[in-house]
C-alpha cells in the first residue's frame, strides 16, 4: 500500500535516521546505567547523557545543570506546575494560565484546584493570543506561577512570551512555558525570553517518543520544584528513575540537528505552508484560523465551511492530517482551542490542521492541495448546507432540531 502523505507533524514527527543512528549503540554495547559510577559501562552511558545534555542546553541557551530529563512534555508540565505549587506554597496559591493550553497543563491545574490552588484561565483574543492587559490585571501578590504555552499545537500561534515573562516577574511570579511545539522549530532562548521553567519533548522534533525535558532556571532566580516521584534522587533530586539513556541520546541528537538546521528549515517550511494555505484559502468559504503573523512556520489550520472535518479526512485518505471536529473525539465536543477563538461550532467542525515537517516535500504540498480541493468539492456536492448556502438560504435562521 502506498503510504499517505504525512502532514500531522504537530501530533508527532518521524524519527530522523541520524537520530536513530546515534541511539542504536545505547541499546546494545553501550547499555550501562548512567548512574553506575564504578565501571566503564556506567561511564560510557554517562558520557552519552552528558553530551546529550550539552546539546539540549545549547539549543535553548541554558547550562547543562538546568536540564531535567523526563518521559516527555506531559511529565515535564506536571513536574513544573505541581512542583512549583508545592515548593512555593508559603508564598501563595494562585496560578495563571490560558484556556488554549494543552491538556497536560489544563488538567494539571484542575488537579491542583482540588488541592487548594486558585487558577485563572485567561481567555484568548480572536487570533489566539492572550491579552497582556488581562494578564496584568489578573496578577495578585499570591500569584506564584504564570504558565502560558509558547506555540499552540492546533493553530500554531506564538504567544508574546517576552512580554508575558516581564509581567510575571514584575509581580514576583515565576514564568513557565510549555514549548513543546516551538523548541527546535523557532529560536527559543530561555534568557532573552525570561523563561524560568520550560517543558518540551523529543518526538515533536524528530526524536523518539517517551523522552523530553524540563528546563529549571538555576540563577536569577534559582528555581526549585518539589519532586513528583520518590526514588533514587536522579536529576538533582527532581526526577527519580534510571535515565532512559538511548532516549536521552536521541533527544540530544535531535536538538543538535534542529539547532544546526532550524534557520533554513523554518524558511523552507513557511514557504511551503504559505503556498498550501494561500491556495486553499482561495477556495470559496474557507477560513484560516488563528493569528497568521505570530505563528510557527509549519502549521496551517483551515476551516472549509459546509463540510464536516471527519468526513473530509475520510475523503482525503491519502493525506494524514487532523481535525478539530467533534466526530473525531470521543466526547463529541469540537476543539476547545478553536472554540475559544470565538469560532462557531460549525466552523470548528469544519477545520483541518496541516502540520508540515522536515520530510515534507514540495511535491507533497502540491498533492495535498489537489487532494484537499477535490475532497472539499466532492463533500460539498453531498452537503445540504452547501446547497442551501448556494440558494441563498440564511442557515442561522433555520430552526435546527438540536439533539
Amino acid at each position: 500500500m502506498k503510504q499517505p502523505i504525512y502532514l500531522d507533524n504537530n501530533a508527532t514527527t518521524p524519527l530522523d535516521p541520524r537520530v536513530l543512528e546515534a541511539m542504536l549503540p545505547y541499546f546494545t554495547e553501550k547499555f550501562g546505567n548512567a548512574a553506575s559510577r564504578n565501571h566503564a559501562f556506567g561511564w560510557v552511558a554517562e558520557e552519552g547523557v552528558d553530551y546529550a545534555r550539552e546539546q539540549v542546553a545549547k539549543l535553548i541557551g541554558c547550562t547543562e545543570k538546568e536540564i531535567i530529563f523526563t518521559s516527555g512534555a506531559t511529565e515535564a508540565d506536571n513536574l513544573a506546575i505541581k512542583g512549583v505549587f508545592e515548593m512555593y506554597k508559603e508564598k501563595g496559591n494562585h496560578i495563571i494560565t490560558a484556556v488554549t493550553e494543552h491538556k497536560a497543563v489544563l488538567d494539571t491545574c484542575k488537579h491542583l484546584e482540588k488541592n487548594g490552588a486558585r487558577v485563572t484561565y485567561l481567555a484568548v483574543k480572536e487570533d489566539g493570543l492572550i491579552d497582556l492587559a488581562e494578564l496584568e490585571a489578573a496578577m495578585t501578590p499570591e500569584t506564584i506561577l504564570v504558565s502560558i504555552m509558547y506555540g499552540n499545537n492546533e493553530i500554531g500561534v506564538i504567544q508574546p512570551v517576552k512580554e508575558i515573562s516581564a509581567i510575571a516577574h514584575k509581580h514576583g511570579a515565576l514564568f513557565m512555558t510549555d514549548a513543546t511545539q516551538a523548541v527546535g522549530k523557532i529560536p527559543v532562548d530561555v534568557n532573552t525570553d525570561g523563561i524560568d521553567l520550560m517543558a518540551f519533548s523529543a518526538h515533536k522534533m524528530y526524536g523518539p517518543k517517551g523522552v523530553g525535558a524540563l528546563y529549571v532556571r538555576r540563577k536569577n532566580p534559582r528555581v526549585k520544584v518539589t519532586a513528583q516521584m520518590d526514588g533514587g534522587g536522579h536529576e538533582r533530586g527532581m526526577r527519580s528513575g534510571t535515565l532512559n539513556v538511548p532516549g536521552i541520546v536521541g533527544l540530544g541528537k535531535a536538538c543538535e540537528l534542529c539547532r544546526l538546521e532550524m534557520e533554513s528549515e523554518a524558511v523552507r517550511l513557511s514557504a511551503l505552508r504559505d503556498r498550501l494555505e494561500t491556495t486553499l484559502n482561495k477556495m470559496e468559504e474557507s477560513y484560516v484560523n488563528g493569528n497568521t503573523e505570530h505563528r510557527l512556520p509549519h502549521v496551517a489550520n483551515i476551516s472549509f465551511k459546509y463540510v464536516e472535518g471527519e468526513g473530509l479526512m475520510m475523503a482525503m485518505k491519502d493525506l494524514a492530517v487532523s481535525s478539530g471536529s467533534a466526530c473525531t473525539s470521543a466526547s463529541l465536543e469540537p476543539s476547545y482551542v478553536l472554540k475559544s477563538l470565538g469560532l462557531s461550532d460549525d466552523l470548528a467542525h469544519s477545520s483541518i490542521r496541516y502540520g508540515l515537517g522536515r520530510f515534507t516535500t514540495e511535491e507533497d504540498i502540491d498533492h495535498a492541495i489537489e487532494i484537499t480541493q477535490k475532497a472539499v468539492n466532492h463533500l460539498r456536492e453531498l452537503s445540504p448546507l452547501w446547497e442551501m448556502f448556494k440558494e441563498g438560504v440564511d442557515l442561522s435562521k433555520i430552526e435546527w432540531a438540536e439533539h
Binding site: 464536516e308 475523503a315 466526530c327 462557531s344 432540531a401 438540536e402
Partner: protein
Amino acid sequence: MAYSDKVIDHYSNPRNVGTLNKESKAVGTGLVGAPECGDVMRLQIEVGDDNVITDAKFKTFGCGSAIASSSLATEWLKGKTIDEALAIDNMDIVEELALPPVKIHCSVLAEDAIKSAINDYRVKNGLEPVVLEKSHH
C-alpha cells in the same frame, strides 16, 4: 478507528445523492441534525399512488458514518411502502454498516430523517403525522 468495508463503499460511492422538488405534493423532506453538532442530514422521498416510495435522495453534512447511513437508508427506502419504511430501525443500519458504539448517533440521525420525511409527506397530503418516539442519543 478503521471503518468497515460497507461504510467505505457507501462513502466512496454514495447512492442517490441529490435533491427532489420539495414543493411537490408527492415529495416528503426530512431535515435533521444541526450544523453546531457537526451533522445535518436531508432525506427526501417521492411516493407513488399505492403508498410505495418510488425515489429517495439525500444530502448529508457529517462524518463518514453519517454519509454512509443516509446513503444506505435511501437504498432501503426505494420500493418500500410508507409503513415498511416506518419500521426501519437505526439498529438495522448499525448492524448492516457495522458501526462502532460512538457512531450509533449517526444511524439515529438517519432513522430520524426517514421519519421526518414521511411526516412531511403525510402532512402535505392531509394526514396526521405519526407520533415519533423521541430517539435517544
